[in-house]
């Protein structure tokens, strides 16, 4: 009980600090925070698949792009405002996620990873080549900011910050509630042992497609925020290397936890910014630090913090793409 109260207290304190930041920081730092906020939504959505359902998706940057482009096209060519376009963007990305999910979710582990990577790239290349609709490599520019509400002027980084903050908090909260639910438990069971999950009565297919669709819709939502925050989007922002970065964010933070991806996102967006002062060696150091982080923080940043706090005995192996033992085990049971 006490523990819980402390947790809630911490969360409220963090939220209070977060909400006064625009009064304390300059626009550059607010911009970085805004980027983090948008990416937190994206990584929370990816975490649903990777961390909780155990499916290594590389399609999320593609779905993010779909959200961004839907929103951008609606607001620039069809006269929609952000407020009407973002739900549509989320729905379009969700529907596309569902359609992609139908064939893709039959695959597991590497095959799932590579097929989703394929779909992500197909989305990007379609955007790249469908010039009439998307502007092709030229991208879409002059995407309007959300129209002002509640006295907030979204052309200002500091004001947009609140929109992003609220969205991110809501999405993270939503993910947390979902994970606590029966469906969330089913997702975790699938991650742990998919074939066995069937035998405790989980319709694994349905749960997976639900998770994928939902997570696609969240990615689409993040995309629509991204488009109207930046005013300009181009297919160059949605490449495989971006997929890799968000995956790193989820995992380095500590996947399958709520806070992990937030920490990871913050770390991996701040790190290169901090390194700007050593500009010459920046990317070398970044790459080296990544390797070291993975080698010495198996459970991600969150794991490291936890082992400092010594609250729980840590789990040494995370599950995704496990060394293949479980699969061998279940395959064995099929044979024996």
């Amino acid at each position: 009980m006490n523990n819980n109260r402390m947790k809630i207290g911490t969360i409220i304190a963090v939220l209070v600090v977060l909400s006064v930041l625009p009064f304390l920081l300059d626009s550059y730092l607010i911009h970085i925070l805004n980027q983090i906020g948008i990416w937190v939504i994206l990584t929370a959505s990816l975490n649903l698949m990777v961390g909780y359902t155990g499916q290594l998706s590389f399609a999320h940057v593609g779905l993010f792009a779909v959200g961004a482009y839907t929103s951008a096209i609606l607001t620039t060519s069809a006269g929609f405002s952000f407020w009407t376009s973002f739900p549509i963007a989320a729905i379009v990305a969700g529907v596309l996620g569902f359609i992609i999910g139908l064939p893709v979710l039959r695959f597991k582990t590497h095959f799932f990873a590579i097929v989703t990577l394929g779909f992500g790239e197909i989305i990007r290349l379609t955007i790249y080549n469908w010039r009439d609709l998307t502007g092709g490599p030229n991208g879409i520019y002059n995407i309007p900011f959300p129209t002002n509400i509640l006295g907030l002027d979204f052309a200002l980084r500091e004001h947009f910050y609140y929109l992003i903050l609220i969205s991110a908090v809501l999405v993270v909260l939503f993910v947390k509630l979902l994970i606590g639910s029966r469906t969330g438990k089913a997702m975790i069971a699938i991650r742990e042992n998919e074939n066995f999950a069937l035998f405790v009565g989980i319709n694994t297919w349905k749960v997976k497609i639900f998770a994928f669709t939902l997570s696609a819709a969240l990615a689409g939502f993040a995309g629509s925020l991204y488009a109207s925050y930046n005013s300009y989007i181009s297919p160059y922002s949605f490449t495989v290397s971006e997929s890799v970065s968000i995956l790193l964010m989820v995992i380095i933070g500590g996947m399958g936890t709520i806070i992990g991806p937030i920490l990871g996102t913050t770390f991996l967006i701040f790190l290169p910014e901090l390194l700007r002062s050593v500009s010459e060696w920046r990317m070398v150091i970044y790459g080296g630090l990544l390797v070291l982080t993975i080698m010495f923080m198996r459970d991600g940043i969150l794991g490291l913090i936890k082992s400092f706090v010594r609250k729980k005995k840590h789990h040494s192996e995370k599950n995704l793409l496990s060394t293949g033992k479980e699969e061998a085990a279940i395959a064995g049971s099929e044979r024996n």
Binding site: L56, P103, R106, F107, H110, F111, I114, V115, L117, G118, F119, E121, I122, L125, T126, N129, V240, V244, L247, L248, I251, I252, E280, W281, M283, V284, Y286, G287, G288, L289, L290, V291, T293, I294, M295, R298, S316, E317, K318, N319, L320, L321, S322, T323, G324, E327, A328, A331
Partner: protein
């Protein structure tokens, strides 16, 4: 058109073997160590640079240089396995995948930092002479690539299938603990596998790098492509990797011939997905895993 199709068949063969050279090394590490080494492309780049330095700067014989590059990069691969992948062994596969991503960023930027952005090209001893086979032409250099790939595949296939070392590789890939109980030196085996894979990437770098240009970012595309091909072919299978490479090579060649070269990647990905939908374990993937 007929001539062009024959020519394209030959072109596809060359493209396929170029991809094959990359993919075999990748699939070895993947199949035996269960490590998805996304830094494979960077090893290829290092191979090209090493060859370049030896041939371009020190005027060493091209073939000797490639051989030396294989040894040097192979040795580096051994060290990488020892100090990065071994500590991560037996943890989730994702860890090694991520470490390899970090490694790839590290290596390519380090080379960029040291060597600068400039492009280089490796002088080759091959003459401009080309051969004409039933109306299609192929240069000496490309013919060389083709033959070397064929040779390498044959040797590798034989080693894995029929030698004791090959058997221990397969055993280790299937059950590490049990192989240790049979007396297989796991650390050495993994180190060698990684070294062989790195050496092959280096050979590809020297041979192919001299066809194109050598620069610090040249590994990015081929590394990813190797991964895709390996999955397409069926992971861990050497034959699969080769067949996958040729399927990819021909898909691109014919896209280029009948449509436009710029749609190659799109077609490649669609093909990958279609193949996996029909054969979920890849073209040569076993029924399991």
């Amino acid at each position: 058109m007929g001539d062009q199709i024959i020519q394209s068949i030959l072109d596809g063969l060359v493209s396929g073997s170029i991809y094959g050279l990359m993919a075999i090394g990748f699939t070895l590490v993947f199949g035996i160590m269960h490590v998805i080494n996304l830094a494979h492309g960077e090893l290829y780049m290092l191979g090209a640079f090493t060859t370049f330095i030896m041939v371009g700067v020190y005027q060493i014989n091209f073939f000797v240089a490639i051989l030396a590059a294989m040894l040097i990069v192979g040795g580096l691969g051994f060290l990488i396995e020892r100090y990065i992948f071994r500590p991560l062994r037996n943890t989730a596969m994702l860890n090694t995948l991520l470490a390899s991503i970090g490694l790839s960023i590290f290596i390519s930027n380090l080379v960029l930092k040291i060597a600068g952005t400039g492009m280089r090209s490796i002088p080759t001893p091959f003459s401009d002479k080309s051969f004409t086979i039933i109306g299609a032409t192929i240069s000496t250099h490309r013919l060389m690539v083709l033959l070397l790939t064929a040779l390498l595949v044959a040797v590798l296939f034989w080693v894995i299938k029929f030698t004791k070392f090959g058997r221990s590789l397969r055993a280790t890939s299937q059950d590490q603990d049990a192989s240790a109980l049979m007396g297989v030196n796991i650390n050495l085996t993994y180190g060698l596998v990684f070294a062989i894979s790195a050496g092959m990437a280096a050979m590809a770098g020297g041979l192919i790098g001299s066809l194109y240009v050598v620069d610090p970012t040249m590994g990015l595309g081929p590394g990813l492509k190797a991964f895709i091909i390996v999955i397409l072919g069926g992971m861990g299978s050497v034959v699969g990797a080769i067949v996958g490479a040729f399927v990819m090579g021909y898909a691109e060649t014919f896209t280029s011939l009948f449509w436009a070269a710029s749609y190659q990647d799109l077609v490649g990905y669609i093909l990958l997905i279609l193949v996996l939908l029909l054969k979920p374990n890849g073209l040569f993937g076993g029924a399991k895993r």
